[in-house]
Symmetry: C2
């Protein structure tokens, strides 16, 4: 690796410009200023190896033709390239590439789970021997930060078990079968139409994609090399709609789980991928569609669960590009544990904290009002309307009489999204009414779809 001067640009080489490769290239180009601020180093994508020079590209940012090559060897041989990003998939060429890059002292970022499940032990040993880092967050759980977490924030734990839903395609199929009561083949065909299953879905359905990821997690958690023949794998092909009915009756749902369990008494490791009954009161049973989740049970931390999108262009790109940022930081060896780096970028340079009055959500407001007191609803509704607030729904309920025999009712208003400032002023006005008892209970109604 070159010794870098402050101000010099790190040079990146990308191998593979398919779905994930395009996402990674675009993220590196479009978020460049932010990433440079966070990595505290500037960078350039120097070369991109592709299979066919003439193929139409799907990147949002055009790749300059002079950067393209069909030979990955060109990137490994280029002395000026600092970091190699492997995104070609498969286990033959990718294996040659990663070996060659590590031997050339170039840190490698990869998300290739099949490669690491098959050749991980050897590649990790080579990485260690050469002192050249190998980053692979994207290999398990897509954008879910499970690899780093096992390597850092959870590292003091003896891992008692890891139980995960780590194949989005099979989870989508099982979710459809459960909800729509349709047979396996029909759910698979739907998933294929929607792009959630590939034309050849074999590895997703027979459990082997999950098994590859499980092997990597087990190696990380127990610091021991493992090969794919050690894992017991069954797929979801046999399950029929009625199995979901039986499961529901018993308080379960059915998920394809990877289960990694350490048995301290026998010092044995249980390692399997199988469709399983998951109790409905466990969070894993709520993980639906293409989402993934991984429950890690550590002897000190207890149960921790990671949830997110486990596959797809963007989540996988997130993991790859974050690894690239780490690789760049470590090339510079700047101390990055200083809490955070104050930085300026287009996105945050003028960031100001929003005044409470200017925050906007729907609201729930509950008043206690005196029963039989004419016009109190009209008063409240008028105050809202005067301040430009729309009422979405309202309801009331009777209360028991208080010590003076006065009846107080609960009056609930659900308000459309408005500024807190509007509502605050309306409530101030209403506080002067003597028909309203106490100050009302005001709760926000959080919306998540557009956050």
């Amino acid at each position: 690796m070159r010794a870098h001067m402050i101000g010099e640009k790190l040079q990146l080489g990308i191998v593979g410009l398919g779905t994930v490769g395009s996402g990674v290239y675009d993220a590196l180009m479009l978020n460049q200023k932010l990433l440079e601020a966070r990595a505290q180093v500037s960078y350039e994508v120097r070369r991109v190896a592709v299979r066919h020079l003439e193929r139409k590209r799907t990147t949002a940012v055009a790749v300059e033709p002079e950067k393209l090559t069909t030979r990955w060897q060109d990137l490994v041989d280029d002395e000026d390239i600092d970091i190699i990003i492997e995104l070609i998939g498969g286990t033959t060429e990718a294996y040659q590439l990663v070996r060659a890059a590590l031997e050339a002292g170039k840190p490698v970022v990869t998300g290739n789970k099949a490669l690491l499940a098959e050749h991980g032990s050897e590649l990790f040993a080579l990485s260690k021997q050469r002192g050249t880092p190998l980053y692979f967050e994207a290999s398990c759980g897509g954008g879910i930060p499970i690899v780093q977490s096992l390597q850092t924030s959870l590292i003091c734990n003896k891992v008692k078990s890891i139980v995960g839903i780590i194949n989005g395609t099979s989870n989508y199929i099982l979710t459809s079968m459960a909800r729509k009561k349709i047979p396996f083949q029909q759910a698979l065909a739907q998933a294929q139409r929607l792009g959630y299953a590939e034309a050849d879905p074999t590895l997703d359905i027979n459990g082997w994609d999950a098994a590859h990821k499980g092997l990597i997690l087990a190696m990380l958690a127990y610091g021991t090399p493992l090969s794919p023949d050690k894992i017991d794998v069954r797929g979801i092909e046999d399950i029929e709609p009625e199995d979901f009915e039986h499961a529901a009756r018993l308080g379960y749902t059915i998920k394809l789980l990877v289960v990694i369990k350490h048995h301290p008494e026998s010092r044995a490791l249980e390692l399997r991928v199988q469709p399983s009954f998951v109790p409905e009161d466990h969070l894993l049973s709520k993980v639906d569609d293409v989402f993934n989740a991984i429950a890690v049970n550590g002897d000190i931390v207890g149960e921790t669960i990671f949830y997110g999108r486990g596959a797809g262009k963007n989540p996988t790109s997130s993991a790859v590009v974050s690894d690239v940022v780490l690789a760049m930081r470590e090339c510079r060896l700047t101390g990055y544990h200083t809490g955070f780096h104050t930085y300026e970028s287009d996105d945050v340079e003028k960031a100001e904290v929003l005044a409470p009055d200017d925050t906007v959500t729907p609201f729930y407001v509950r008043f206690r009002v005196q029963r039989d007191r004419c016009g109190v609803i009209a008063d409240i509704a008028t105050a809202f309307s005067t301040h430009g607030i729309n009422i979405s729904a309202t309801s009331s309920s009777d209360g028991a009489p208080d010590e003076n025999g006065v009846h107080w009712n609960s009056l609930v208003f659900i308000l459309h999204a408005c500024r807190w400032g509007q509502l605050r002023e309306a409530l101030q006005e209403l506080s002067r009414l003597n028909t309203v008892k106490d100050r009302p209970v005001v709760l926000r109604m959080e919306t998540f779809q557009d956050t």
Copy 2:
């Protein structure tokens, strides 16, 4: 910082031996061989600063009296101490200690959220200026790896929002109120009796504990210093049981949320802690009791959720001790991104992967059997019994006749936990019966409480 030789022991200094301090000390002593293997460095706890020398200790491993001192200055002034672990809480002495340690070039591990919310900007700047790392995973979400994840695996994302349940006490109270329909004061008293709320629960209930954590997360996500007066905070004191009824009727539950949202159009940051309606179809609504969860929405990764225990001796110790391992690794600057380190320790040295036959769970088995065929249930039950498998429940349902007019029924058996080997052999035997059609559907029933 001293320059370290291979084989030399890193020297740790712990300040504070209260609940978390005791947990950290015990984890460092009891898991020492494993931690040394993972950190690739050996260590020693050299000194421990406490308030009173004579107080009875709650550590599982006795602290040698000669290691104790009442002056934290002794640790900062000790040239042989490499890393300081601050666990005294508060913002006055802790502030002096962390400043002095960073100025002396000693990396600091802390979980002090109030300290970082109040003085973080200054301490992070000092850490950067001196090139001395400051680790603080334990300051937000206890054992949940949110700090490292924002600093590493999610770093390429523009954070669109962070929405979290990050105060266990208030979440416990809200969960009790919702489930038991009891008023706030009663739920609080119960939480205090069970040790989930302190004698003085003010900061948990009025939202400020969550606000401190939210400030730290916002600083990390946006790389910008923030002070506590920037956050809009409301507590849960006003909520009454009937609010949960209204919420449920509308499809919501009530949680105390920290909400951090970036508004790109106005470049403003929304920063607030408030009790809020959470839709029942969002995972955050399922986070009950003392558990915490944090949803991070990144522009590339989409929504990722972290779930676990957000407070308490063990989860907090997990985060502190993991930070200590990172600090030790970085003191040595060994490359640790090689995937995993093959290591041997008492726990894993002889770890062998369990044979599939030896894995034990309860099972669900569904047969298709010919209706009106005498004895089929007896045959199956006998096969199970012969192989030592106990039946926990059974049910059957009628099917339609097939093309030959033969009626096939579904016969479901729920089996108590047994070895897969036992069940496999029983099923093999049953496969020879011509009353059973196809091979049965066999699913595992995962148990989570004891994993």
